[in-house]
């Protein structure tokens, strides 16, 4: 097949460029899973303790919406699958989508694919090499996870199913990304489309798991828990992953054969022949470039927020359960609901952190792509240029938090008929803003110091996510947890609003931005 000529060469090239990403993410997911398994083993060593735990969580639709199906939580393996299965397969899907998008579309946009196709590489070679990179990543994660869990002494079949579930979700979304790369007009558009599909799959599963479970069957992320690792594994579910992946990949090749290099299947619209009257400042440019992605983030997070809001009454009911109530002896139902809200606020804050980093690193993307140069060659200072993006990013964070907080409140209102939470929850979400601003400031400073070091910010962010979800569960030392800005945010509405830590975080953020401005002014501009 001449269309595949030089796939091997390209694959080696991909692996050269992505080896760090592939190896680091494989290690992270495998290590993370094993760590959680180890801790759960020591926290709930006996069947009786595990039964008590599962009793507490099994009834809660809120827990099911966030973590997945709660049936069968009697063995350590089942607890592991429950605690990390859904969450990690979603994260693995995100990493896989970005990897495939980069090779199937990103290189095409930067002109590298053109260079390759004009030499000896076949037309299908870049997509194939990208998919093979994704296959390698997911096989590493799957095999590593299975092996690690077996070494910990968990049943072989369950461990294999767990690894297969990770790889199955990852590969299914590799197929989704391959199709998205053919549909969208730009690399960014392709990634947005594929990430949108992951969010949709997560939400379908959340709605399904909170309800009677039917909807979960429509979601590849739902299949990962339907495989029932460590609980009479239903191996045929792997067939669903395989069929979907093969179908998507074939569709991607069929679409690829029908489109032109550099174009998508979805038509490109014409723009305005002249700029609007007000389109003439760095701020207008930043707003224009960030508008769509900000709205997409707010929409995506709000969809999650409504699910979190809608299960509020179940949280309240769940606390009424006499057995559960015994556990929360000194805490009333309101307090438990508020603790639930506080956890939701942390999730919203972490998501806002991801958005904030992406938006604050936008000037870096502009710089590396060579689009900062023409702007900085006009009467625009570096600070005005980057500062415009910073302002838009911070305004976007505020909007994201207020809107998603309100949406949780609206969900709660629908669920409980209590409108009192609306403003309270919007405010509670906004309390996360100073912590998010610290991450944004860190991103700005790294860009100011060394634009090529940006992955460091994402590692710091992954650390915050880890500490947020597992810091208490895994009994991480306090000094380490204190490194995450989120640790210092008062857990409103469960706790009272503490002003000093919020002011402290804001001051740190301001310092980081000031340092970023200073470093950005002093260094050379670079581009790829």
């Amino acid at each position: 097949m001449t269309a595949l000529t030089a796939t091997g060469t390209l694959l080696r090239l991909n692996l050269r460029r992505d080896r760090v990403l592939i190896v680091l993410s494989a290690i992270a997911f495998v290590a993370w899973t094993i760590l959680v398994a180890q801790v759960l083993q020591s926290l709930y060593p006996t069947a009786a303790e595990r039964a008590q735990f599962s009793h507490v969580v099994a009834e809660s639709p809120a827990v099911r919406a966030i973590r997945g199906d709660t049936r069968g939580l009697e063995t350590t393996g089942q607890l592991v699958a429950f605690q990390v299965g859904v969450l990690f397969s979603t994260f693995i899907a995100v990493v896989t989508v970005l990897l495939v998008g980069r090779h199937a579309r990103g290189d095409e946009e930067s002109g590298r694919t053109e260079l390759l196709l004009a030499s000896v590489a076949g037309r299908d070679a870049p997509l194939t090499a990208g998919l093979l990179s994704a296959l390698l990543l997911n096989v590493l994660i799957g095999v590593g996870t299975a092996a690690g869990l077996v070494v910990l002494g968990l049943p072989i079949a369950g461990a294999a199913a767990m690894g297969a579930a990770y790889a199955g979700v990852g590969l299914t979304f590799a197929g989704v990304a391959a199709v998205a790369a053919q549909l969208a007009g730009t690399a960014r558009g392709a990634n947005t489309l594929a990430i949108g599909a992951i969010i949709a799959a997560y939400l379908l599963r959340a709605a399904g798991d909170a309800g009677n479970g039917t909807l979960s069957w429509l979601s590849p992320i739902g299949w990962s828990s339907r495989l029932r690792a460590f609980d009479h594994e239903r191996w045929w579910v792997l067939g669903l992953f395989a069929l979907t992946t093969v179908g998507l990949v074939l569709a991607a090749y069929a679409l690829l054969a029908r489109r032109d290099l550099g174009a998508g299947m979805l038509p490109q619209r014409l723009g305005r022949p002249q700029a609007g009257a007000r389109f003439g400042s760095p701020l207008a440019l930043a707003l224009r470039l960030e508008r769509a992605v900000t709205v997409a983030w707010i929409t995506g997070v709000s969809m999650l927020a409504i699910v979190y809001g809608l299960v509020t009454s179940s949280v309240a009911d769940f606390v009424q359960n006499p057995q559960v109530a015994r556990i929360f002896t000194q805490a009333g139902a309101d307090t438990v609901v508020d603790s639930y809200f506080a956890t939701v606020m942390l999730v919203l804050g972490l998501l806002a952190g991801g958005f904030a980093i992406q938006a604050t690193l936008r000037p870096r993307t502009e710089e590396l792509a060579g689009r900062a140069e023409p702007v900085l060659a006009t009467a625009t200072s570096r600070l005005r240029w980057a500062g415009a993006f910073w302002l838009i990013a911070l305004a976007g964070v505020a909007a994201l938090l207020v809107v998603s907080g309100l949406v949780v409140g609206i969900g709660a209102l629908i669920s409980t008929g209590d409108a009192g939470d609306l403003v309270r929850l919007a405010g509670a979400a906004l309390a996360q803003a100073p912590a998010v601003a610290v991450l944004a400031g860190l991103a700005a400073l790294v860009h100011g110091l060394a634009p090529r070091a940006a992955p460091f910010v994402w590692i710091a962010f992954a650390g915050c996510v880890f500490l947020g979800f597992f810091g208490e569960l895994l009994d991480v030392p306090a000094w380490l947890r204190d490194l995450s800005p989120y640790t210092h945010v008062p857990q409103v509405p469960a706790e009272r609003v503490e002003v000093p830590p919020l002011l402290g975080l804001s001051a740190v953020a301001a310092l980081l931005f000031a340092a970023a401005a200073g470093t950005l002014r002093r260094r050379d501009m670079v581009s790829d």
Partner: protein, 295 residues
């Protein structure tokens, strides 16, 4: 004659690479100055230093009387720039990009902008991601030419333009010069430089190897001679300054250094000239000589 750009002894290193190694450049106000050099010679790096995007480690650079690093923003109001590699925002139309860049500089001459869009036959409604390389180049050119900047910094501005558009570009640049404005034209397209430039600076490995008017540079180099003589053209081999001598019966062809031209002509005349064509060196020969001869 006042000067728009004065650069002397400029040094810029990236890690172990010395991109600029004592570069000199002087551009007089009102001239079109050719900035020549092979790929990687340091042309773009020099322009980036002049734009304050890079900070030089040594030497001095003065641009329109200011310091390109310290006074970047105020200087940029008075200059326009066309990058060598034009990257546009994929979601912005060409028209929006032109208008945005003009406004960021400090204003837009709508009539001039529309005239240029027509002259370069650009569809300003297309999105940045839909343009070919040549069309991206046009967007950047129109944005720069529509301005009333005193100084244009053009970094290989015609890459990707077809010959018709290249001719339109030359017209525009001449108009700029006729209006008393200054142009620094970095290029390796020698025909373009020969057609447009008053003076040139040739650089290699971050150093200036030649500068002056085209006339002056030609004096420094060889003239090609093609002659037919009455008597057999013997005895030319021992002449100083004659290169690539080829004798073919009574026809003789050689290149001769500027200072040896006089002597060579006398010898040929003595042999009884039947026909003679002499051709001044093209810039290309000049250029190739500098790069082929060098160590």
């Amino acid at each position: 004659m006042s000067s728009a750009i004065t650069v002397s002894g400029l040094v810029k290193t990236f890690g172990d690479t010395r991109a600029l190694d004592g570069l000199d450049l002087a551009v007089a106000t009102g001239e079109i100055h050719g900035f020549l050099g092979p790929n990687g010679a340091g042309k773009s790096t020099t322009i980036h230093v002049l734009l304050g995007l890079l900070r030089a480690q040594g030497g001095t650079a003065t641009l329109l009387g200011g310091d390109p690093w310290r006074d970047a923003v105020t200087l940029h109001r008075r200059l326009a720039y066309v990058p060598g590699d034009v990257n546009l925002w994929p979601n912005l139309s060409g028209g929006e990009t032109i208008d945005l860049l003009a406004r960021l500089r400090g204003g837009l001459d709508r009539a001039r902008r529309d005239e240029l869009v027509g002259r370069f036959e650009l569809d300003p409604a297309k999105k940045g991601s839909a343009y070919s390389k040549g069309n991206r180049q046009k967007v950047a050119l129109i944005a720069a030419l529509a301005s009333d900047a005193e100084l244009l910094l053009l970094d290989e501005p015609t890459a990707g333009l077809d010959p018709i558009m290249e001719e339109r570009f030359r017209e525009c640049v001449r108009e700029v010069r006729d209006a008393g404005r200054t142009v620094l034209l970095s290029s390796h397209i020698l025909g373009e430089v020969e057609a447009l430039c008053d003076r040139v600076t040739i650089i290699r490995d971050g150093r200036t190897v030649e500068r002056g008017s085209l006339e002056e540079l030609r004096h420094l180099t060889r003239t090609s001679i093609d002659a037919t003589t009455a008597r057999a053209p013997d005895g030319l081999t021992d002449l100083r300054g004659v290169h690539g001598l080829r004798v073919d019966d009574h026809r003789v062809r050689f290149d001769v250094d500027g200072e040896a031209l006089d002597e060579a002509m006398r010898r040929l005349a003595d042999l009884g000239l039947r026909s003679l064509t002499s051709r001044p060196p093209t810039l290309e020969e000049l250029f190739l000589r500098h790069y082929a001869d060098a160590p």
